[in-house]
Symmetry: C2
Subunit: 225 residues, 2 copies
DNA sequence: CTCTTTTCGTTGGATATACAACCGATTTGT
DNA sequence: ACAAATCGGTTGTATATCCAACGAAAAGAG
């Protein structure tokens, strides 16, 4: 194991991918997972649209952006990647095509690459914790899956009101109570639901006036009827 | 292994989950995966919103619907499940909450349940193909993930035109050509993009008149500019 | 072949949304 | 304590979308 990698063991230890595995064990697994470490200057591309990906990628330090360019060259931002997060993992399956997005470093960053085949094929008994990593990987993809389904469900509603109802009632169900706190301010909620902020604000107030709900800042009280 | 299960071995063999595994091996793995088989009458609930799921579910025969009910009791359909498809796999992670959707049998159906823990924890050397199933499971979730991200990307556009451009240019990129065939008719495309069919039809024709593209039925020619 | 069904474009009116702009309240930084 | 920035509600207007309905063309059935 390279010295540079050793430096990031505390980071790896706290990732979802290595959850439940100690630094010692991670250190001894790295070669088994075919790990390599690369650094990127701000603005450099970590992954490029059109590439085939055969490694699972983990941001060890820095910050990165997922963006895409359409057929006509219009660019749009899809999300941000923070330290400890993995990405690209959904594109290592052999039947998956090339990458559809670019990943660009927003700051000077360090990135781990793990050979996907070696990650998902548990090796000999030497790696007692390898199967735990596989499980963690599956859980990580599952979690992304769940939040994608939820978001899709909200956004696919036709009207702003329906989107709000979908999102808020989902949260109420999840938090199992009628008064909920949401992790967004108005602008972020509007972005999340893909609507205009002011139009959403209008709709919220209309719903309040109709007695459907009450709110204050990021707290909402739903009335069940 | 129960006789009833044996009957479905040919079905299992052709699923993504057991891809690459022969009937023989599947048969000997079933107990190792904690498989159980249940039948449902048309209209019965296979999974219920609010339940905790600890099994991976596979439709062995019949047809099922994924639906959901919001806080106010409004029902909506999210998708259909066909023979050989797995579902619920994204909800077996321990940190995932309860199910948010119902799954209802559309016809008399037979359903396999596999103990998630036993699936993702490869057992002793007795199951040589177990790790292949784990890999298949990961690939299956990855695939769902990819299509969800794509759909979300299209739907989150504000206007019908942007949604169409997003979808069509994505397809063009994926099929690596400017003339593409899509697997939808107009109504289905409108449903997929969450817009009104007639409005979408209007927009398509407007784009054609502006020279952005040409189309005939489900074939589209994109002009890059 | 004829009849039926499906598909798709078109129209018009009611409604919802986006967009820009503004303001007061609250929060943040110094 | 003050200035600056952020946040959230409001308004007005142009535009886009939904919705229902219609008809022609294509596909499918008998």
């Amino acid at each position: 194991m390279r010295e540079a990698m050793k430096e990031f063991l505390p980071v790896l230890k706290n990732t979802k991918l290595f959850s439940g595995v100690g630094e010692e064990e991670i250190g001894s697994m790295l070669s088994c997972l075919g790990a390599r470490l690369r650094t990127y200057k701000k603005g450099e591309y970590v992954l490029r649209q059109g590439e085939r990906l055969e490694e699972i990628v983990l941001l060890a330090c820095g910050r990165a952006l997922i963006q895409k360019e359409d057929y006509w060259g219009n660019r749009s931002i899809l999300g941000e990647i923070g330290v400890g997060e993995i990405f690209g993992e959904a594109y290592v399956a052999p039947e998956s095509g090339a990458l559809l997005n670019d990943v660009v470093a927003l700051e000077d960053s360090a990135v781990f690459f793990f050979d996907a085949k070696r990650v998902i094929t548990t090796c000999s008994s030497a790696c007692r914790f390898h199967s735990m990593v596989v499980r963690n990987l599956f859980y990580a993809v599952s979690e992304k899956n769940r939040s994608l389904v939820q978001k899709l469900d909200h956004i696919s509603r036709r009207t702003t009101r329906e989107k709000l109802i979908s999102y808020l009632s989902e949260e109420a169900k999840r938090q199992n109570r009628a008064d909920i706190s949401i992790p967004f301010n108005r602008q972020q909620l509007a972005d999340y639901l893909s609507v205009d902020r002011s139009a959403m604000s209008n709709e919220l107030c209309r719903m309040r006036d109709e007695g459907l709900l009450k709110f204050e800042r990021n707290r909402f009280w739903l009335r069940a009827n």
